[in-house]
């Protein structure tokens, strides 16, 4: 049992912090953040490009990927530490979702050599084409089809909530390749450029769209998209893994996306914010920090945040030992998002009407971060496996409770 980082890891953290202090100006963090301007391509403003180059040069992008593919061959804990610090500073240094791990696990040598170094250098970015209008929690119900035609596949269908589709170079798509196979056995994964003819991206604005949320507020973005595929013809080499074996590849990627620094931080950073705010601010004659009922609630939330942190540490420890989760990742994905909602709602009652004020408003507290969180914090309990599905998994995988007489349990987005 060891609850501390090693001296080396602590040194790394200091190094990252120093780097951020020197390089991440408020303007730059703002530019680099995809939520700060819904129309600007993700992290491709000139300041951001220069920053990412610097981060890359320090060896902090793609840390866990093998050196032969442009990574650092480092461990997940190192990545966690670096990612945590950058996430707190509003800079996303992940490779953007579950595409890269899926390629490493299931891709051909050619695919690995093409995609991984480019993802790390941010020359390539994926949007996720999984969800459809009738396939959300029940993702395997998807209908978007890929039909083999000679050396090509022809794609037709619609994807929902393809966040960042308008500023990604490629899509990581799940489609049905066999209509006659059982639900989970006729699905395949494809990787191809977003400028392939026949793709139409239409914006879907979320309730956070006006004005845009401050950096790292919630999982909710101000813009997402629906994407239409109309006879989109791609070469068969775009297939990732085997045909009709895409379900497992896709699920594996999603599982990896349920743990880690940014998901942990999104749920607990409001705990830090509220403590730091109340200890340094007051409303004229009134200081919420002096109200013992509010203090009690702050402490209660803080304890929960620590549990979120420790569950994340537990997941990291399991990964570091090369072990596998039975339920621990799912537990983290219940506890942290639900805590995120609880702390958000607790803050509304600590700061009252100030919590209604958005970013651009006079008197908004902390750039309106708490208000934006009210609108978006519940999203974290829905995305990437709802808390209901996660609890099912804790119960069935972790505790081995029997399935009820319902259609077979499936891995769901």
């Amino acid at each position: 049992m060891d609850f501390a980082y090693s001296a080396e890891q602590e040194a790394l953290r200091r190094e990252v912090r120093q780097f951020i202090k020197e390089n991440v100006t408020p303007e730059l963090a703002d530019e680099a953040n995809p939520e700060s301007d819904v129309e600007r391509p993700r992290g491709q403003g000139p300041m951001a490009a220069a920053l990412y180059k610097k981060i890359y040069d320090r060896g902090w992008l793609g840390i866990t990927y093998p050196k032969e593919y442009g990574g650092q061959g480092g461990d997940r804990l190192t990545q966690y530490i670096v990612e945590e610090e950058f996430t707190r500073a509003g800079i996303n240094i992940t490779l953007g979702g579950s595409g890269a791990p899926a390629i490493m696990a299931a891709g051909t040598e050619e695919q690995k050599q093409y995609y991984i170094p480019r993802l790390i250098k941010r020359e390539v970015s994926f949007c996720l084409g999984f969800t459809e209008p009738h396939a959300g929690a029940d993702l395997a119900n998807l209908r978007c089809s890929a039909v083999r035609d000679g050396d090509d596949y022809v794609i037709n269908g619609q994807k929902m909530y393809t966040s960042a589709a308008h500023m990604s170079t490629h899509i990581y798509l799940m489609a049905r390749t066999d209509r006659n196979a059982p639900k989970h056995e006729g699905i395949s994964i494809f990787l191809f450029p977003m400028d392939t003819p026949g793709i139409t991206v239409r914006p879907l604005w979320t309730i956070q769209n006006n004005p845009t949320a401050p950096v790292g507020t919630t999982y909710g973005n101000s813009r997402t998209n629906e994407t239409f595929f109309d006879d989109v013809r791609i070469h068969k080499s775009c297939l990732l893994g085997e045909e009709n074996k895409g379900w497992r590849v896709g699920s594996m990627g999603l599982n990896l996306d349920r743990v880690g620094a940014s998901r942990y931080l999104i749920s607990v950073r409001r705990d830090e914010d509220i403590v730091n705010w109340v200890k340094n601010n007051r409303f004229d004659g009134y200081s919420p920090a002096e109200n013992p009922a509010i203090r009690d609630k702050i402490a209660e939330m803080w304890i929960e945040a620590q549990v979120c942190r420790l569950m994340t540490m537990r997941s990291m420890s399991i990964v570091e030992r090369g072990g596998k989760f039975t339920y621990e990742g799912s537990a983290e994905k219940v506890w942290a998002p639900e805590h995120g909602v609880r702390v958000t709602e607790a803050i509304t009652q600590m700061l009252g009407p100030y919590t209604t004020l958005l970013r651009t408003s006079a008197h908004a507290i902390e750039d309106g971060v708490f208000a934006h969180n009210v609108m978006g914090s519940f999203q974290s309990g829905i995305n990437h496996g709802s808390v209901q599905v996660m609890r099912d998994q804790v119960a069935r995988r972790g505790l081995e409770l029997p399935s009820s007489r319902r259609p077979k349990k499936v891995e769901a987005k």
Binding site: T131, G136, T206, I207, T348, P353, L357, H363, M375
Partner: protein, 391 residues
Amino acid sequence: MDVLLNDDENLIVDSAREFLTGECSTKLVREMEADALGYSRELWAKVAELGWQGMCMPEKVGGSDMPLVYLGLVLREAGRALAPIPLHSTAVATLAVARDGTAAQQEKYLPDVVAGKSVWTWAFTERDPRFVPEAVQMSATARGDNYALDGVKLFVDNFPQADYCVVVARTTAGSKGAQGLSLFIVDAKSKGISQKPLITLAKDKQSEVTFQDVLVPKANIIGAAGEGWPIVERMLDRGTALLCAQMVGAARKDIEMAIEYAKFRTAFGQPIGSFQSVQHTCADMQMWVDGGELLTFEALWKIDQGLPASVEVSQAKAFCNEKCEAAVRNSQSIHGGIGFMMEFDLQLWFRRVSAWTMRMGTSFEHRARIAHALIDIPGEVTLGRPLPAAA
């Protein structure tokens, strides 16, 4: 004892709901979010014809002198429909005039209110967001026949569209707490007033209003100068209870949408509403809104009876703050991604209910008020019996 609606009350509800179903589409609600004044002048005129603004106004000014419970039912329906009209702020301000103003004030101002010709609001909060007398710093200095008002009010509802604003200020320089406070009827277009919009997640009209040497006639004081606090308390209690009515109306409609959605949205081969976890969540949502509604109408009913009702008002608000928020947030969760989209209507209710939970007193404030009444006043407490002494 019969906590269900009687025939007259059902009639009020049915006619209000029928009217709003016809006249208040979500299209209108969305248009008014983008409107400069944020409310439908047409709808405001129509509800005046139905007598909403005059519902609890005295008969002598053209009102119907009905119980506050009736207005609560109408605001519940207005909340249900998210009716873009400044009915709540107008009611809060004008009820203070109707209950505690002079005959002259009532005759001068209220007929226009009843006729739907004027919009009112009220201004209490400054920097300190609590609804306690210490939070009022604004000064009102006597100068001849006038008082000069100086200070900044925050979170003033519907100010840009208001004709009059009931403002709480200190007429006694250097006074503390509940002493020395007065309420003024202020012409919202008076010289020296400026306003800055506050941008809220509800997309409604809230303002920072600055008063610089604003002259208000002494005749415009509601009640005796310097003795305004009890009037303010009554105004806030009425306003808080009416806000709860609006909130439970909106929350009810919001959860109905989620329950309906759960019936037809399928996943894993069956409606999501057939999963026990969704069923239990829906059951909780129903019970939360029911609880908020019962607490709210008991509070309004007690005000109507002239009984002490501060504890009941605080019960309703503290509960609605937490449970209505939980209810509408669960509606969002049941809807998944679609509920998060602007183009889908659910969010219209979610954003407003959320904003209302943060106004007119936090749960902490209201619970402190309840605890004071329960604990600090000697005598044995028994549920369902009046507290030992008025709180």
